[in-house]
Symmetry: C2
C-alpha cells in the first residue's frame, strides 16, 4: 500500500447503542488494505472485533490504518448497552459530529462520514434540528438549503422536499423551490461527481404527471415552468416525468439524477433497487459528507448481524468526492 | 399438447394504432405450443406476422390455436396507421371490450385479457369512464370498487386510491376506504391466487409513516385504525409501514401484497423492479381480468420493437386465476 497523502476521513460514532461501532470495525476490515483511510471518533473502550489504536490527531491515522482502526478516543459518560438508548450519552454523539465537521473545515479530515443517529434520544437531550443533514448545514452550510442525494450503483435521487408531512410537502412545492434544488443538484454533480453536464430528470407530482391537468394541476403550473427555467439557464433538465415510469430499468440510463418532489417519491425507488448499500450524500456543504442510508438498527445491535456494506460504500464515495473537489480546486 | 378443455381466454384489440396487434401475435408465438389458449377480438385483415385464422365462436379457438392465432373478426371502419389515432375506430375498441366481457360472463371465455387503450381517443368518442378498470367494473362488477393489483415475480401491489390528483387522494383517504380495499384484496388473493391466509403490508402515507405524528397525523389517525380493524376481523394486516422501507429486498418476502395509499406509492416500486413484464389484475369482478402493465406505445407501434413479455405474463396469469376460481368453485 502506498502512503495516502490525502487527509483521512472522519467517521462519527453515531448512536452508540446502535450498530455504528460494529460496522465501523467491519468497514476497517474491508478497507484496511486498500483504503481510503479513515478514523473513528468514539469511545475506544467500547469497540471490539479488531485491533483498535488510539490516536491523538487525524494526522496519525494513515500510519496506523493498515494495522488497526484509528480512534480519536472520546469517552462516553455511561457504559453502552446495545439496543438501549441512554440520553446521558447524547451530548457525546453530537460532540463527535461537531468535532468531525471542525476537522473537515480545517482541512485535517478529507470529509465526514456519519454513522446513524437516533433522533428521539438527541431531542430528549435538547437537540433542535429536524435531522443530521439540517444540523450539518448549520455547521458547514453555504446559506442554501442542504440537498440530500442518495446514490446506489443503479440510481441517484434527490428529494426536493424531505422530512415533512406529505400534504405539507405538496402545499410548499413551488417553481422556485424546484429550481433552487435542481441548481444545487446540478452544481453538486459537477463538483462532487465530476459530471460536466449533468442530466436531471424531474418527476411529476400527480399520477401520469397530471395528464395535462386532468389529474392535478401542479405538474402543469409548478413543475413544467421550473423545467423551462432550468433549461433556459443551460441546465439539462427534463420533466415533469410520470413518476411511475421515471425509475424503470429502461428509463434510468437516461439521466444522472432523478429529482423526486417528496421524500418517498425519491426514497422508494432507490431503496427498492438497492441491495449492495446505498449512500446518502449532502450536497451544498463546505465539507464532504456522506453516510450510510440505513438507521441505527437498534434491534440487531450487538448481534453481529449488521452489514457494513452501506458504510463501506459511504466511505469510498466520500473519498471519491474529496478527490473531485481537490481536482476541481487545482 | 393435450386438448385444453378450459374455456379459452378472450384478448381485446385495445387501441389499434398501438402495439396491441403486434404483441398479440408475439404472445401467440410464445404460447402456441404450451398454451394457455386464447383468441383475439380484432380486425383480422390488419394482423400480420403469424398465421391468422378467423373463428366464428370462442369454442373453435382450441383446435386452431397450435397452428394459427384465432381471431373473432370484427372489422374496423377505418384502415389502421400505426401511431396515428383515429376516433372513428374508437367504438370498435369499446365493442371488443364489451364482447370479451359478455363472453366471459357467459362462461364461453375463461377470462378477459385487455390490450392497452388510448383514453384520449375514447373520450373523444364519448367514453365516459376514468379508465379501463372502472369500465370493466361497470360491466362486470359486484357493487364494490374495482381493485387494481399489479404483480411481477418479486412483488404484488394494490393502490388504495388510483387515478386522482395526489392532493385529492390524500384528502379522500379514510379508515373505511383502506379497510374496504384491504378486504377486497385479501379476498382476491384467496380466491384468485390460492393464498389461504394472505399477508397484507399497508404503507404509511407520510415519510417514516409519520414518526408518531411529528411528520403528519394521517398514519396515526387513519391508517393505524384501519390495520387494527382488519386484524380484529382476522386479516393478517400490518402497518402503517414507512413507505421507503416497505419495498426493500429484505422486506418483500414478508408479505403477499403491499397496499400503497396512492397511485405512485404502489406503482413506483413495481415498475422500478419489473423487467420481465408486470401484470395488471382487476380484483372484485365477476370475471377474470388481466392486462399488461404498459400503455399503447404509439411511438414504437409498427416498428417491431414492442416486447410481448408483459402480455404473455398477463395471459398466463389470467389462466392461473381462472384455474384457482374453478378449483374454489368445486
Amino acid at each position: 500500500m502506498t502512503a495516502d497523502r490525502r487527509a483521512p476521513l472522519a467517521l462519527t460514532m453515531g448512536e452508540p447503542a446502535g450498530i455504528g461501532g460494529e460496522i465501523a470495525v467491519g468497514a476497517w476490515r474491508a478497507l484496511r488494505a486498500s483504503g481510503p483511510t479513515f478514523f473513528l471518533i468514539d469511545d475506544a473502550t467500547r469497540l471490539s472485533g479488531a485491533p483498535i489504536r488510539r490516536i491523538a490527531a487525524p494526522e496519525e491515522a494513515a500510519e496506523v490504518f493498515a494495522e488497526a482502526l484509528p480512534v480519536l478516543h472520546r469517552p462516553l459518560p455511561r457504559p453502552v448497552v446495545p439496543g438501549r438508548l441512554d440520553v446521558a450519552n447524547a451530548p457525546a454523539v453530537i460532540a463527535a459530529i461537531d468535532e468531525a465537521v471542525a476537522l473537515a473545515l480545517a482541512g485535517r479530515a478529507g470529509g465526514v462520514v456519519t454513522n446513524p443517529i437516533q433522533k428521539s434520544v438527541l431531542y430528549a437531550a435538547g437537540f433542535a434540528h429536524p435531522g443530521h443533514t439540517e444540523y450539518l448545514a448549520e455547521l458547514a452550510g453555504m446559506g442554501t438549503p442542504p440537498v440530500m442525494l442518495l446514490a446506489c450503483p443503479e440510481l441517484r435521487v434527490v428529494p426536493v422536499t424531505i422530512h415533512e408531512p406529505l400534504k405539507q410537502a405538496i402545499a410548499r412545492l413551488t417553481t422556485g423551490l424546484i429550481v433552487e434544488i435542481a441548481r444545487l443538484t446540478a452544481a453538486g454533480l459537477r463538483q462532487d461527481f465530476g459530471i460536466a453536464q449533468p442530466r436531471l430528470a424531474i418527476a411529476g407530482l400527480n399520477p401520469h404527471a397530471g395528464e395535462d391537468g386532468t389529474l392535478g394541476t401542479e405538474d402543469r403550473d409548478i413543475v413544467a415552468p421550473a423545467v423551462a427555467l432550468l433549461r433556459a439557464e443551460g441546465i439539462d433538465a427534463r420533466g415533469p416525468i410520470p413518476p411511475d415510469t421515471l425509475f424503470t430499468a429502461k428509463a434510468r440510463p437516461g439521466y444522472d439524477v432523478a429529482l423526486g418532489l417528496y421524500h418517498d417519491q425519491a426514497l422508494i425507488p432507490i431503496k427498492t433497487l438497492d441491495v449492495a448499500g446505498g449512500v446518502n450524500v449532502t450536497l451544498g456543504l463546505r465539507i464532504v459528507r456522506t453516510s450510510p442510508d440505513h438507521g441505527t438498527a437498534l434491534d440487531i445491535a450487538g448481534t453481529g448481524e449488521a452489514d457494513p456494506g452501506s458504510l463501506i460504500a459511504a466511505i469510498r464515495l466520500a473519498a471519491t468526492i474529496a478527490d473531485h473537489r481537490r481536482n476541481a480546486a487545482r
